[in-house]
Symmetry: D2
Subunit: 411 residues, 4 copies
């Protein structure tokens, strides 16, 4: 294909059009490691609550690429020097920042690839691609690892107000139809600037930053940590754990080859060589959902029952509370359930369990979002805002939940 | 669950909220036959062109339910009598009108369930559900089959301006980001009325009808029949055919049990008993995509090569034309390819083939869209419009295409 | 006109369609008191900052009518009894709640109708219309005055979360293009309920309430109190004051008859009889802007200079600060200016002046927004929210400003 | 003000932000000739039908400037050479293309400035500004007059697919809430190219062009020529004519000075010297509406009655037809009316009259919209489209109307 044909345009319901800035970026997008993101849902099982939330990590990555182009334009307009090479590295880094995600990452990371995080795998993929593309990703990798001397470039990719967060908030609220999460990325980007190698927001953008922080927090409670998504994800985690357990006990757990590989083997991050990475690269939502569909008919009651719950969206009940649930409450439910179901105590714990979620709208430990004041001074948004209080914002809000079969009575 | 809890609301990025009108509708939605639509994409492989087009048949069916509620309100406001029982039947019928769709229906219907159409299967599902729900779907089925005496009710469900088309045009253009397809369903519904048991559009809605017809036509050419979707679908069809062929030759074709069932057996519509229907109900996009992922590593060159094309979005080349391609052109490409690939002539035809697509914006054979004029008369929109000409509109536009591997030269 | 013709529909870019629920409402809309709102801008001089902000009080009132209809539907669906008569009264009251607004109310109330507030005039209009329409507005007036025994009805019309605020936030942010102000009125209304005659929001709507409060606050700082709008309004107030002053000194101040009436006479609220009300009803934006256009050529330097500032959008400079400006700063500018312009000290104060603005996102004195918890209890949103702190929210934020001619140096 | 401060941003609900590209453009926008467009409504009296349609010619001109910037970027990306000087000239020309519009141009041009068209006045303004700005508009004027050698530049400003039409269709449909008129300007601009100095649309944009033509036609019939707007405009024209007539008969017609100037004097285009242009530049909507408000109380029955019709939106009745109305029909109504009203025959014609409107979706005489085919050939869209027929599209559709007082019977 000639290079001209690589100047492709994607339709995007959010931004209108997304333009591929150069042939190298096009080649990365065409790579099977990246194409695989077309089959990985951005919001995991959230479509069980928000039926529109079927967008993919592929689309999110393109969206990030788009707003990074806008950011580069705005910064250059404000006389921030960005060389062509740096520009390209920013595009590569933001495009690939999430490439290490597997299907339903959160559930996976809590069941079968326990000590492995997607950021680390993203880096493995980048390094592998760097070899294939003769070092063309080197600068992007440097930025991504925080090793490049111009620190604001990393902030564009990973900080409390980066292109990633902007796109996912905008995209997730768009597809889920939760209007409260909409943010004005256009305005935020227009207000960006760089001072002393630090990414800042100009003062008249302060309300947009507040709005952004509130929208993010709202999306956490209303969408990402929605109780139905939560219980679905907990069930999914337990399905994968149970499958692994059954395999270890000698049962057959029919599923796709790449998924079977990870059920068979306990892979630690240190073992993640190129072969394992290639196996990992074969995994997508299809493997997980396909397996669960099979397992509906598995001989093990626990595995089959949990699997049916996901497929038929007939989930466990979930109670949420600001207080911890007591051991008695849980034991009582466990007793009821094992009596009724004749399951062992251990198996019953697949159906009756508790958990907690935490969220924090803004971290005061992480690098702050800095506002450029009219007099040229920089200040943390949480200090400048007359509405947000740093303490309230950075408070870790914790909620507790308890899951159990519908037929049980929680008195 | 108490009935009050069944008065659920779904978020929808298009309509805001979709309300479930009564507990019976809720129970239908909860049924596994319907839940399965969550895993069937509305637009098949179009996401390979429009990365936002990942919405499901589940969501489309809910959307239809929503606008049917609006239509019922508007008609009642205009003194069209609709009993509660009829209202409910309209909701059931529109909700289930597409329940017979399998995954990638078009490709399936051209490969492994050859003589079976989704409308017929929808009816089978409805009948089965009617048994389960003690006859509560009887009136809906009567309407759906065109056997109810009030004919306009069928027109709301299936006609040239029904709730189905309104929702899918709106939804498909929304998710694909193709703004040209957006229609004003609100206005069309506001302009609906019933005269002599015929669904009509009041005269001042005529421009909205024209717009609707043009939008539909545009969506066909720009989206549904987009050349890349077309070639992807052709490849998918050939993958399924090849798998069936290989099975018949004694090869192993590893895939999910329900898909294997349909590869093993040639099922005609007459054989579609309850058992087969239940097997069919287990199929969704996961089975197809999961199989294709496996088949990338199949020993058969044809199957594995075609499978990789879909998974890595590295498709055959496609040329479109208003004229038929000549036998020489095709033979020339076939010769080139079999020489180069060492495949048999028969196998080569999996990689070099032609086809055609037809579309018609408006049928003059089907029941017309009728405009209610100010003097009370009814007239076909194609006659009243000063812009649309019935002949142009109802013309069958045919386009021809030719698919072949990228490396070949089409001189 | 027959009553059927009065079942009119208005296009609205925000809600799609606004339906007039009954012929009486139609007659009110057709009344010249209401038609006059077509010529009164909702956001005063804000179009000087936001060029899209040209929407009118007429459109806002229709918007309120629309969402009141939604609210009535939702509440009835939740079994809140609302009689037809009450329903109609709610429509009348919300439609007319702002009918007492004159053109550029804020500037008017600070210059020529000093002790008269638009709420009081709204009531005068309602009483007058009640006579014309034979008592058909009586119940609406009772509700509006807080004299009806069902208190929640007043809350729908006037409270910290009423239909008025919902529509104006949505509409003002829409037309000004300030996305941060967008609120999800659909969701807020869906979450409404009535408990013990109190309007409440169900618990799962709490994030939407937080969002609403933040959006309102943001709109205040970013739009309603935008420094350029502020200085424009201050200039407008001074133009009107100066005209009155000049008239009293015997100068001719050419303007429309109704405006001249209010410049000639000092009208207190007690004098507002039917004749004066009719005169007031003749005023709209045209009278004010038309006068200012004339006054650009007035012999008085002060009047003509200020008038040109508005017409040519060539305003005074404005500095904002969190601290009060000192007397010295102001005196220094006054001295510079009177020296340069040869104006008297008194006249100079038309060009150099200070002011302050206050805003409060949520009042803890006014009736709170109450959340209906899952256990049935009611609680103030400011107490329940883990993010908003009642003290921060209800803080009166004050900002100070200083206006002066551009050519001066503020050292 | 420093040049940096002139790099201003306007909020636009349609495009998000509109950036002022350079300080010279900023100065033009600040000029009082341009600021005056803030007080001239883009859609005249259409707000009487579409209450949201209060946007101004000021905003439209900024919108055109915005999409011209997009067009320049796209063309340069496709290697069309555009110098900085040409770029700036394109911005100036599109910004000022409509600056010659007076208030309610159409009614004005049919009553008091009879032989003067706004395009010609735009040129007068540009020439005057060119003097003030020392020749900086020369190239823009050359392009605007069609005298520049690169013809495609004029096509960007004035052709069947220019920036003007794109913005007004988009903006008028947005503000009026008529969704059917929405066009995809983003896509149209993305598909633009220049071949042999001709502006073309690339083939895959053909459906967007069809959509654009259909949307334009729809907006004509549904909005611009809406029967209520039509009758309102006819009444406005007659008010101005009547005022002129009364003035000539020696009556006093109280109105603003600039409007009085044009009522007193019959100005032909040849007389339009700088003084008259400056007088014209003082006119805006305020003058017209202000006068009509006064004239409600004029002693002349005809003038006062027509004036009240506009102010209270209580218009004449209008009948539309595809056929001409007969002389008898009209005479009959005239007789009825003069008998009932005791007006002279001449005066009665102010209340009973007929007219006609014509529209053509696409002109085959004007320069065609050219499609760039894949083989490099250019062809008229009307020939390439399989749906549009050149003859149908270019047909002059004529509709006839008859206006008369509501109380009359048209048998």
């Amino acid at each position: 294909m000639s290079n001209t044909n690589k100047l492709k345009i994607f339709n995007d319901p959010i931004y209108g059009f997304i333009t591929i800035p150069n042939p190298f970026i096009y080649d990365l997008i065409q790579h099977q490691y990246f194409q695989r993101l077309r089959r990985i849902s951005q919001m995991g099982l959230s479509y069980l609550v928000y039926p529109g939330a079927n967008h993919t990590r592929f689309h999110h990555a393109l969206g990030c690429l788009h707003i990074m182009q806008k950011a580069v334009n705005v910064l250059r307009f404000k006389n921030v020097q960005i060389s062509e090479q740096e520009e390209n590295a920013l595009y590569v880094a933001i495009l690939l920042h999430d490439i290490g995600h597997g299907p339903f990452s959160h559930a996976m990371e809590h069941s079968i690839v326990e000590d492995v995080h997607h950021e680390e795998i993203s880096l493995l993929f980048m390094n592998k691609l760097n070899k294939e593309f003769d070092g063309q990703l080197s600068l992007a990798i440097q930025i991504f690892k925080g090793e490049y001397h111009r620190k604001f470039m990393l902030q564009l990719i990973s900080s409390q107000l980066d292109m990633d967060r902007m796109d996912y908030l905008k995209r997730d609220s768009f597809y889920s139809g939760v209007e409260e999460g909409k943010i004005n990325s256009d305005r935020l980007i227009q207000m960006m600037n760089v001072v002393d190698d630090v990414l800042v927001i100009e003062e008249k953008g302060i309300y947009s930053v507040e709005k952004f922080l509130m929208a993010r927090r709202l999306m956490y409670w209303q969408v990402y940590l929605h109780k139905t998504s939560l219980v679905a994800e907990e069930i999914l985690t337990r399905i994968l754990k149970r499958a692994k357990e059954l395999y270890q006990k000698g049962f057959d757990v029919d599923c796709s080859k790449p998924l079977h590989f990870f059920i068979e083997n306990k892979i630690t991050f240190d073992q993640f060589n190129d072969e394992i990475l290639d196996e990992f690269a074969k995994l997508d939502d299809t493997d997980i959902i396909g397996a669960i569909k099979n397992w509906q008919y598995h001989e093990d009651f626990t595995l089959s029952t949990l699997s049916k719950m996901i497929i038929n969206r007939d989930l466990l009940k979930i109670k949420m509370s600001n207080e911890k649930f007591t051991s008695e409450e849980i034991q009582n439910l466990l007793d009821q359930f094992s009596k009724e179901s004749k399951l062992t105590a251990l198996e019953s714990k697949y159906f009756v369990f508790k958990g907690k979620i935490k969220n924090q709208a803004y971290s005061k430990i992480a690098e702050p979002i800095r506002i450029l004041q009219k007099d040229g001074g920089l200040e943390d948004v949480a200090i400048l805002s007359d509405q947000l209080s740093l303490n309230t914002l950075s408070k870790h809000v914790t909620k507790y939940y308890l899951c159990y079969p519908k037929q049980l009575n929680k008195s």
